[in-house]
């Protein structure tokens, strides 16, 4: 063993986003025998986005349960398993398939605790991914977080970085409520430093990814990365944007959003999902209600157009906010 390796182990390791998720699953499965994973193509194939790669060899087919293509059946089985003592993590290949499983999420998992007067808890995670940018067209590219955020009883988590992906997934698995864990298909091959070993990021805590004083950009998932890129261009023009990454949509870290807005007095709410009735509307309304007197300009939304995601490469990027759109909107806001 070389001398350098005998020193204290590095606290972090560079990982891809999908590896970081896999790391969280592996550690939680080692820690708690009640944790199982279920989904389509998750065993030998390692998952459509290689999140579960290696888990079959480590834990065997009873804890890494590859299923037939039956979204309703799989999610429902997870609800029943969670109600009776397991901590299932379901992988739904695309969030667009959630429609097939929606009854079990909305009418069952979300409401069991409430409807049963507190007798039940449903500690399950439904991991899935959404977003455009790979030419997968309208049925494989949506951003549907607003659907889930609207349902009392669900928690909604959308990590942007590998470290947050690992920490939030760990917290989601240990959480006693049903958690909808939304990944973005373009994030899987992004890299970042990830804490080695147990790493928890509490649900409901936003993170200021970049400090600034000219305006606040509230965003989540892949648009955190786009906002950070836009912020570099804005910095070059002397505009320092503060980037607030919500990380969890439900529970929402209102304090983090409001304290940033009270500092910058201007806010751009940014997301990929369709603008109409999007979660950005909730954020903008919350700011207007709770921090109106701190604002120097109306809250502004920048979000996806009200259209299904088109196929062609040159069309696809026209319907979701790009870096130049963010720069432009930010400049207009501070003008």
């Amino acid at each position: 063993m070389q001398a350098t390796e005998t020193r204290a182990p590095a606290a972090t390791r560079e990982m891809f986003y999908n590896e970081a998720l896999g790391d969280a699953l592996r550690l939680e499965m080692e820690r708690d025998a009640r944790v199982i994973v279920m989904g389509e193509d998750i065993a030998e194939h390692g998952g459509a986005f290689q999140v579960t790669a290696g888990l079959l060899d480590a834990f065997g087919p009873t804890r890494v349960r590859q299923t037939p293509i039956s979204e309703l059946g799989i999610v429902g089985a997870a609800v029943g398993a969670a109600l009776t003592g397991l901590r299932p993590v379901v992988e739904l290949m695309y969030v667009d398939f959630a429609g097939l499983a929606m009854d079990q999420l909305v009418n069952q998992a979300a409401q069991n605790r409430f409807m049963f007067g507190g007798q039940a808890r449903v500690p399950m995670v439904m991991r899935t991914q959404g977003g455009s940018g790979r030419g997968n067209a309208a049925q494989h590219s949506k951003s549907l977080e607003a659907w889930f955020a609207h349902v009392a009883g669900l928690k909604v988590v959308m990590p942007a970085t590998p470290a947050d992906a690992k920490g939030l997934l760990t917290a989601a698995i240990r959480d006693d409520d049903p958690v909808i864990f939304l990944e973005h298909k373009l994030l899987y091959r992004t890299k970042g430093e990830v804490p080695v070993g147990e790493h928890l990021v509490p649900l409901g805590k936003a993170d200021v990814k970049k400090a600034g004083d000219a305006l606040t950009i509230v965003t989540w998932s892949r648009h955190v990365l786009l906002a950070l890129e836009a912020a570099k261009q804005l910095s070059a023009d002397g505009i320092e944007a503060e980037i607030v990454d919500l990380r969890s949509l439900v529970p929402l870290d209102k304090d983090a959003v409001l304290s940033s807005v009270r500092k910058t007095h201007r806010v751009l709410v940014l997301h990929e999902a369709v603008r109409r009735a999007g979660y950005g509307a909730e954020i903008a309304a919350m700011i207007a209600e709770d921090a109106f007197d701190d604002l120097d300009a109306p809250p502004r939304r920048l979000a996806g157009l009200e259209t299904p995601i088109p196929y062609a490469q040159h069309l696809e990027k026209t319907v979701v906010p790009q870096i130049e759109d963010i720069v432009k909107a930010a400049k207009e806001l501070v003008a």
Binding site: I36, T62, R63, R65, T67, P68, S70, L72, G73, I74, V75, G76, A77, A78, V79, G80, A81, A82, L83, T84, G85, L86, P88, D103, Q104, N107, Q108, N112, R113, F114, M115, F116, G117, G118, Q119, A120, R121, P123, A152, G153, K155, D175, D176, D177, G204, P251
Partner: protein
């Protein structure tokens, strides 16, 4: 059949019938809010199946769920309290008739969504399999639910994984207002089991002996790790789909004639007496006891405080 078992089956059926009659009266008096769905006519199914279940076995139930709940040994006082919106109700007034659950007895809830409990029971059976216990799960559902996709997906999954779940399809002749022959292109729903590679058994759901016998084999099979099965029990729903249903899809002759002809309690009394398992007097005594117990349960509910206001986020989330 042993006398004690026969009498217990009868007592459970009577409890269910009594509950349905009494809750209908309470509804008529305006004390029950919302809607209720009577299980009268189908008592033999819940009683015959649940007689084989332990408190740590699981069931999922339906919008017509009072019978399953009672057969799984629920506390009647807490059931009435729930219907009356009281704090002492099973769901503290948050759920009502369509969502009564009693997790202490393995009842994972009535369900307002037709077929909604089927995937959940399948998941409960997965827990048993995963933890290596000999618990079983039973999913009760109506003929209408057998046409929902969740039934197909769950049955397939359970058979693939040999899960200890028994799917109990209660054919009460109507999916809400749709007669069973207009909802199924087949005469015998149990034949669907073959498509999943599991046994399918069809029984007379008016005869508690037949249900008890068939369910006993299927439950034992599931406990032995031999996998899922489908039990199809045919009966007749005495009341409408819901309390107040105008029943335009039925004739008066059918309702009155069939109700008299197809009554599982009358049927049970007849064979219990003729097989000398019970005397008319013994059965009458059970009826009277059940009525006394029910009156006490209603009194408990009526004396209970109204459900407390909703507390957020604690009523909705375990942690927030």
């Amino acid at each position: 059949m042993e006398k004690a078992i026969a009498l217990d089956l009868y007592r459970v059926m009577r409890r269910i019938r009594d509950f349905e009659e009494r809750s209908t009266v309470l509804f008529g008096e305006g004390k029950v809010w919302g809607t209720i769905h009577s299980y009268a006519g189908e008592e033999a199914i819940a009683a015959g199946v649940c007689a084989h279940l332990r408190d740590d076995d699981w069931i999922t139930s339906t919008h017509r769920g009072h019978g399953h709940c009672i057969a799984k040994r629920a506390d009647l006082g807490k059931m009435y309290a729930e219907l009356l919106g009281r704090e002492t109700g099973y769901c503290r007034g948050r759920g009502g008739s369509m969502h009564i659950a009693d997790t202490s007895k393995g009842n994972l809830g009535a369900n307002g969504i037709v077929g909604g409990g089927i995937p959940i029971a399948t998941g409960a059976a997965l827990t048993a399999k995963q933890l290596g216990t000999d618990q079983v799960a039973v999913s009760f559902f109506g003929d209408g639910a057998a046409n929902q996709g969740g039934f197909h997906e769950s049955a397939n999954l359970a058979a693939l994984w040999k899960l200890p779940v028994i799917y109990v399809c209660e054919v009460n002749q109507y999916a809400e207002s749709l007669p069973v022959e207009r909802g199924f292109p087949i005469k015998d729903i149990s034949t669907r089991a073959a498509g999943y590679g599991m046994p399918g058994v069809r029984v007379n759901g008016l005869d508690v002996r037949a249900v008890y016998e068939a369910a006993g084999e299927l439950v034992a099979r599931a406990r032995r790790g031999e996998g899922p099965s489908l039990l199809v029990a045919e009966a007749y729903r005495h009341e409408g789909h819901y309390y107040g249903d105008p029943r335009k899809y039925q004739t008066k002759d059918e309702i009155e004639g069939w109700k008299a002809k197809y009554d599982p309690l009358v049927e049970a009394r007849t064979w219990m007496v003729s097989d000398e398992l019970a005397t008319e007097a013994e059965l009458d005594a059970i009826d009277a006891e059940v009525a006394r117990e029910a009156k006490r349960a209603v009194a408990f509910a009526e004396a209970s405080p109204l459900a407390t206001p909703i507390t957020l986020p604690g009523d909705v989330y375990a942690s927030y």
